[in-house]
């Protein structure tokens, strides 16, 4: 008796296939820095991805070139999504060249984001380095929407130079608020800059929070996250309450391919936001 023939593999172009991107139209492009843009995209038709939670990511598809995992920097009505993309490779180069009216593919949202709801009643420290700010932006706005539900809110943002700061106008708005405390620092600056200079960890001693009741959200280059987490833990913040967003080579984004494996975790599925307690021994390891 002949075996049952295997089912036809699903066509990735089919609606509902996990790898099928949904077409979105680029509504606006804003230059942040010479190599970084913020894209606002909206669904072309009735199909759209589910509502992303702060800290989740999507796969953005530059048609004919490839996909790249990009954190969600904002959402809006009617399925609108905001992504800040830096040109660091072939796909992101194509994404940063998009203009209003162009089409981009979107699938997601994926992974676990910042535990904003779980951090209610606690002090919050948000530490962003460079393009670590965009994935934190939705968490910041979620916290501000429910500001009375949280204790102190400290934001520390570091970039390479003043011209590498993203969301400059928004940051000025945050600076004027009385319900959060913002510190912005750069690694080096010319005389036109009257703000802080020094790596982001140099600003942590000035951050005001009660360590035993603090939750920290940290996103940026991996070494920066490691040093920041170490500094926060040294000050008394629990490793389990110190969350970092890992970046790895995500391909499938649904925990199948293993490209983003990091120790026992698939960053796309188990992360990208993970507690420092689960990473402390892995972060110093080379080539992991």
């Amino acid at each position: 008796m002949l075996a049952e023939p295997p089912p036809e593999p699903a066509d990735p172009a089919d609606e509902g296939h996990p790898f099928a991107p949904i077409p979105y139209a680029v509504r606006a492009v804003a230059a942040e820095t010479p190599d970084t843009v913020t894209l606002t995209v909206e669904p072309r038709g009735s199909r759209r991805i589910g509502p992303p939670q702060p800290g989740q990511f999507v796969m953005l598809y530059a048609f004919g070139i490839g996909e790249s995992p990009i954190g969600v920097a904002g959402t809006g009505p009617d399925g609108l999504l905001v992504h800040t993309v830096r040109n660091v490779g072939r796909v992101t180069a194509a994404l940063t060249r998009l203009t209003p009216g162009d089409t981009v593919g979107v699938r997601g949202p994926y992974g676990h984001g910042w535990p904003v709801a779980e951090a209610r009643d606690r002090d919050i420290v948000v530490v962003a380095g460079g393009l670590g700010l965009p994935p934190l932006r939705p968490a910041i706005y979620r916290l501000l929407q429910q500001r009375e539900a949280y204790g102190r809110l400290e934001i520390v943002y570091g970039a390479r130079t003043p011209k590498d700061l993203v969301y400059y106008e928004e940051i000025q708005g945050w600076r004027r608020r009385r319900d959060l405390r913002l510190q912005v620092t750069v690694d080096a600056a010319g005389r036109e800059w009257y703000g802080d200079v020094g790596v982001v960890t140099t600003r942590l001693p000035d951050a005001r929070f009660e360590p035993s009741r603090t939750t920290a959200f940290v996103c940026g280059p991996e070494i920066m996250m490691r040093l920041t987490a170490q500094a926060l833990v040294a000050r008394g913040v629990a490793p389990e309450a110190t969350w970092v967003s890992m970046e790895r080579n995500m391909k499938c984004a649904i925990g199948l391919c293993g490209h983003c494996q990091y120790g026992p975790s698939f960053v796309c599925r188990d992360g990208p936001v993970l507690p420092y307690s689960s990473l402390a021994k892995l972060l110093p390891l080379r080539e992991l």
């Binding site: 660091v88 380095g129 460079g130 393009l131 570091g158 970039a159 390479r160 590498d164 620092t185 690694d187 080096a188 600056a189 010319g190 005389r191 800059w193 009257y194 703000g195 802080d196 200079v197 020094g198 790596v199 960890t201 140099t202 000035d206 940026g220 280059p221 070494i223 920066m224 040093l227």
Partner: protein, 156 residues
């Protein structure tokens, strides 16, 4: 014979994180000839290559540590703010400033005389040891921060 230090200056030095909790007699001794001084925005506190006769305890404001040359624009490599110390060249021969220092905010400082503090440390090794245990982390932190800056993390 030297005049007794200003009691207000002694109190302010004793409250600065670098000296807080150290022996009151030590604080009194290093306060000899110490003064309070304010700097306006863009006023210079130190000039690279000149004798480092003093160091500053910053009590308010912000100071930029700069490096530059005739053919390169000045680059700020670090800022120092309230509760921090500005200057270690007074401790390390040949006692010359390694950087320029410029106020980037209206800044209040306590100015300590390097020679007075060195003499006090030399005459009272126990105080000297305890003080250096406080002071070394300032140097260690600056070294570590510089190393991290050299990684140029955000360039990737």
């Amino acid at each position: 014979m030297t005049a007794a230090p200003d009691p207000e200056v002694v109190r302010a030095i004793g409250e600065h994180p670098l000296f807080r909790g150290l022996d009151a007699a030590f604080v009194h001794a290093v306060a000899e000839q110490a003064t309070e001084r304010r700097f306006a925005v863009d006023e210079r506190l130190a000039t690279e290559g000149t004798p480092a006769e003093v160091f500053y305890l910053v009590t308010d404001g912000k100071v930029a540590l700069e490096i530059g040359s005739a053919d390169q624009p000045h680059l700020t490599v670090e800022t120092v703010g309230a509760g921090e110390v500005l200057g270690w060249s007074w401790l390390v021969p040949p006692h010359r400033w390694r950087f320029d220092a410029r106020a980037v905010k209206a800044t209040r400082t306590l100015v300590l005389q390097g020679e007075v503090v060195r003499r006090t440390l030399a005459h009272h090794p126990t105080w000297g040891y305890l003080f250096l245990v406080r002071f070394m982390p300032v140097l260690a932190d600056r070294l570590e921060n510089t190393r991290v800056q050299l990684l140029d993390l955000h360039a990737r």
